[in-house]
Subunit: 495 residues, 2 copies
């Protein structure tokens, strides 16, 4: 039994129930778990850990790839298991605990966590819990729908717990490309020179003796929570496609563009989906998460290849893609998030990076993380890995939120994740601002006219005019710079 | 005459006076000039251009490597030659014109400008003006004390003017390593795997037919303006050395550390100089500008190799180093700033990055550029290339400025060049805050206790306490967040 999934016979007697496996995790430990954008997370052991913690309190530092599915972050947060959490999350209950100061959240660039672990600036990892399709004869771990940080967690951890998920298709085997950069300062170049470069192994190579427990599970990944395109996201996609067509006409891009990255979420997904209606062809993706739009583009014959660190699909798309996975597999690679997001590769390939902003200011500084400067939403994710190093750094958002009560265009960003130096293009449903080669004073009128909601344009223009009267390279009326956020807090609206 | 410096005989008849060469530059053109941190800038042609503009107005877009010496930015700004200036400057007169909105300044990561030019997102370059030691038989340009962006300017420009500077030692020939990354998306890895990697040519290869004029000059580079170490910079150096020794004891670093980068200026120079008094040895630098401290470390037997994009020395150090240059030359390389600052190489080598902050906030967000959020000082320079991608990102500053009237530690940074995600270590003369692995709420008490001036600690702690009472991952009292800067503007002091 399970011999096709646990192919090293010596490991078969390590199969235990989740409760027993979870006993390897003790109070105060640092635990690395698989999981990236709700895909491929370990499912049974964290649930068992939360159940145990409800009886007998314990808390850990939990490091993952990115966000977890199956309400795991909620369950763990509510059971007070999480003393410290990194590098990303997107769960409302955990978010609440973070903003209340109950969970210490360390918001990191997704490519960086494993560099810190490897150099012992974080860690050590006591236990890794990794979801797998299979364990090979040599003890190699075959991940499921995400790679995330699983490879380095497994290599560095003292003990490894494997969750063999029987619901994850064995077709996933062969999809992964596990490459671990060598030690610094004697590291060699990362040999990825194209989205389709295969440079590593199809499994995570570890000493099988470290595999301390194996748990058999059957639970599916959670479906993605993206919403279908609406008028506004379609408008954003339209503005961006028009801009890219203009770049092709100007001879700066070809109709195959450059490799594409798109952040997680509804807007980025809609923007990619919008490329179906364009003259572009033979596209490639070098991204983090592959969402529904990746497969829509494959099906439309627009996309030649997609590299990512995870596959996160809607329930409907999952039902159409997975049974037919053989049709896509040769055009897909899943990599460790360190490689999917690596500054070296992002710069080399010249990626067009499309990420979502929470708000941006008159000068192009982008807030991706903090509502009104203080309340953490999800985290910076990979947007910083891509925005600084890519060919074109594009940020998209709807011009307003909360029925128009919040303007996404503000006098001064209340928190800065991407500064003026890293932001080339801003897009809302009203239009696009091309900031390349412009000084701050030139950026503001363009952003107001092209991106802000009409209801807020006059007040933004008035602020800018009064700021300019005071002078400065980046003009501000400092005592009013955050007044829109203060007003929001006091009245529930920026109006 | 000049045959040893202009070795292609066909070019000798292109030698003209600076006024004639400057006539190649016409109103509205985009001009690329050599020069990086006051080293190796073209000297005669820009002066001739300014003289002409005083008679007959003209203005250009001027792109350089970084800051220019010999008061060139001042002279050009005062003659109203500069409509647009990028990617860095450090001149008081130009700064004034930028802050008055007279010159459109585009503040860029120093590794990025040539990527934008090469992909025609900026430019085209009409004329390049490059200072050289010599022109080879094949028309190759041998730069002087900096490489900066000179190679790409020369390759892309329609016409090239060469200033052969007879005062620049012919010993400089062979020092440079000119490597130009290939076109994207088919770019190959940059083969630099160590500070001492030589991967290119010792000259800039261009078609000699593009050399439209040659001007003979004799003016020296300006001396650096760094001040000698004082009690405060010595204290900063001491705290940092102690921290690095602690990292060695913890087994995270060896006594050879990792390759070092240090920003331009007095504090970074003093910090490097301070390494003379430590047990570290066999150090290497992979930096932008090589200042006095590089040669002090060579002389102390501490440094094995230094790679940079320019050499900028004090008058005294220049007098001791240059006559004896043969003693250093085999341990030095000057590279294009794209390569000295390249994210790919910075990440690969695992650089320890030491840069200067103007101010930072309770959560570790760093302002490198804007006084009170609005007035441009110099520009971000290479700090963003290094801070995001290095092994350790360290920012140093004195805890106060203007006789204590300005605190460098503020509730909220008034402009963010390096955000919490990119800042590992903060150091002032009072101490060091190690922010690695800490959430914002954990960072603030450490920064207040270790880095702030005692006169400001109570008020910072009070702000933090009241902010925490309001909640949030990054707590703030939004209506007070910039009040210290407002107070400074109104009263001349943050007290």
């Amino acid at each position: 039994m399970y011999g096709d999934r646990v192919r090293n016979p010596a490991l078969l007697d390590r199969i235990v129930c989740a409760d027993d496996a979870a006993m390897l995790i003790r109070d105060g430990m640092t635990v690395g778990m698989s999981g990236f954008t709700r895909a491929g997370e370990a499912k049974a052991v964290p649930m068992a850990l939360a159940a145990r913690a409800r009886q007998s309190p314990l808390s850990i530092t939990l490091i993952t790839g990115a966000s977890l599915g199956n309400d795991l972050d909620k369950t763990l947060a509510e059971a007070h298991v999480l003393a410290r959490r990194l590098p990303f999350q997107s769960d409302p209950a955990l978010r609440k605990a973070i903003n209340a100061g109950e969970v210490m959240f360390v918001d990191q660039h997704l490519s960086e966590t494993v560099e810190l672990l490897r150099t012992r600036q974080l860690g050590p990892i006591d236990v890794a819990v990794i979801e797998a399709v299979a364990i090979t004869e040599q003890g190699g771990i075959v991940p499921t729908t995400s790679v995330g940080n699983s490879a380095t967690f497994s290599i560095l951890a003292e003990k490894v717990i494997i969750e063999i998920n029987l619901s994850q298709s064995d077709m996933l085997e062969g999809l992964h490309d596990i490459y671990i950069p060598t030690h610094r300062p004697t590291r060699m170049p990362i040999p990825v020179v194209a989205p389709e470069s295969r440079v590593g192994l199809p499994f995570i190579p570890i000493d099988p003796d470290k595999i301390a427990a194996i748990v058999i599970t059957e639970k599916l990944d959670s479906s993605s929570t993206i919403l279908p395109p609406d008028d506004e996201t379609r408008a954003i996609a339209g503005h961006l496609s028009e801009f890219l067509e203009h770049e092709v006409k100007a001879g700066r891009l070809t109709n195959s563009l450059q490799p594409l990255q798109a952040g997680i979420g509804t807007i980025a997904n809609a923007v990619l989906h919008g490329l179906i209606e364009t003259p572009f062809h033979n596209l490639k993706m070098y991204s983090e998460v592959l969402q529904d739009s990746t497969f829509d583009l494959f099906d439309a014959g627009k996309l030649d290849f997609a590299s990512g660190s995870s596959i996160t699909l809607s329930a409907e798309k999952y039902r159409s893609v997975m049974p037919d996975f053989a049709r896509y597999k040769s055009r897909l690679i899943l990599r460790p998030q360190e490689i999917s997001n690596h500054p070296e590769v992002v710069r080399r390939l010249g990626i067009i990076c499309i990420n979502t902003a929470l708000e941006f200011d008159l000068y192009g500084n982008v807030n991706s993380t903090h509502v009104a400067g203080t309340q953490m939403m999800n985290g910076i994710g990979g947007s910083g890995d891509f925005a600084r190093n890519g060919y074109l750094s594009i940020f998209v958002t709807k011009a307003t939120a909360k029925d128009g009560r919040i303007s996404s265009v503000v006098p001064m960003a209340s928190h800065v994740d991407h500064n003026e130096h890293d932001v080339d293009i801003l897009v809302t449903e009203f239009g696009l601002a091309d900031l390349r080669g412009l000084a701050p004073r030139e950026r503001a009128p363009l952003i107001i006219a092209n991106c802000a909601h009409p209801d807020y344009r006059d007040e933004l223009a008035d602020y800018f005019r009064r700021a300019v009267a005071r002078g400065g390279h980046t003009p501000h009326v400092l005592e009013e710079a955050l007044s829109w956020h203060v007003r929001l807090k006091e009245t529930g609206s920026m109006r």
